[in-house]
Symmetry: C2
């Protein structure tokens, strides 16, 4: 039998979530204050051990809900981290997930005592985090940076209607670089991914800018044909 | 302590490798004949349980070597599979890796008795495979299909010098679709990713075609600037 050659195996595995939000021109990541050892009182990504009786995708959803109160978040697998010494209590492999959501402080309430609280933190100045969570968070940032160059993922972070300037600021926040305004507008408008709204901004001191919506139908059509939006 | 709430955990984890090669106009995947239960005598991806004492990346390298004889393969993590019933002997999460290599039958010799032999199989007509290996192989195919639209990964599958027709056939094999010849040549030549060689094909019955080399330096430059090759 295959296992005879191997030493006793009793690894545990956990799930960790890198949840991105966007607010006030900044890309944010959802963190918790841990309330349990190891790393008690440390800041960390929402994560915990998984049960043997649940699929890993389910485990990620459950853990995110328990530690932050967030439900119905569409999580995608990010990467698995398996350095032997990454957990002080023994061999724990973690499967990381990520999601891009509209930032909301409503409903950010841990439902277990494992997390003391959940809160947003700027992605470009993360504090010291428990375990190898800095590495995991960086992998998540790298992933959405790569992705936003091909796919218009950013729309999930904006309100239903937005200005071109808001959209540009979102791209600048994720890519951590300044983007040429004229070039950006030309590319994004020629991509046919935006629908011009009849509405303009309200209650602004400067000249009200045109609002746009994301053209989801066109996006799906383009994607079928192997389309990528190249910034 | 965090674990008190959880049932006893003693998951095992394994690694599985999706190794791609290219031969006679076909995309191939490396398989083994299993020589150990469960799924004894089944065809499978090269994969096995990992030791608690090794990083998962190391485990993947070791397992690939033991079951196929292949060494020094640059493996990238593909995806983790964690359905609770995916292994008949209990909870085993597997971390899948993939690699794109020049196909070679030399040195394909399992060094343990766990695999009876290792061999290449056409990716578009995979046989019944052990465990959820079909799902894992399909994830691998999906990954390289997505990747080849942005990055010129295919060059790893061709000889040092190749014709544009060979390159086109490679793209067609991976994407499983016919590509317009004129359009393909225009795009690939304007990408500046090829260096025209002084040599032409030898020993062919038709008019000898020009040979090209992959321009790695230009590729790295373009990639730094967030470049993607869009087919």
């Amino acid at each position: 039998m295959a296992r005879i050659k191997l030493p006793t195996l009793h690894s545990d595995f956990s799930v960790d979530c890198v949840i991105f939000g966007f607010d006030a021109g900044e890309l944010k990541i959802l963190l918790i204050d841990r309330n349990e050892p190891p790393y008690k009182k440390w800041k960390a990504l929402p994560g915990n051990l998984a049960y043997d009786t649940e699929d890993i995708d389910e485990a990620a959803k459950r853990v995110l809900y328990e530690l932050t109160g967030l439900k119905n978040v569409y999580l995608e697998q990010l990467y698995s981290f398996g350095k032997i010494d990454r957990h002080p209590q023994g061999r724990v492999i973690t499967i990381a997930y990520y999601a891009i959501i509209k930032r909301s402080d409503n409903g950010l309430h841990p439902v277990t005592t494992f997390a003391k609280k959940a809160f947003w933190w700027p992605a470009n100045s993360l504090p010291k985090l428990a375990f190898d969570h800095i590495e995991i968070a960086k992998k998540g940032i790298e992933r959405i940076r790569n992705k936003i160059r091909y796919e218009p993922i950013g729309f999930e972070l904006l309100p239903e209607q937005f200005t071109l300037t808001q959209l540009q600021h979102l791209y600048e926040a994720i890519l951590e670089t300044e983007i040429d305004k004229r070039n950006f507008r030309k590319k994004i408008l020629s991509s046919e991914l935006l629908i011009e709204s009849k509405n303009k901004q309200k209650d602004v001191s400067h000249r009200a800018a045109r609002l746009y919506k994301f053209n989801k139908i066109r996006y799906r059509e383009l994607k079928k044909g192997g389309f990528v939006f190249k910034l």
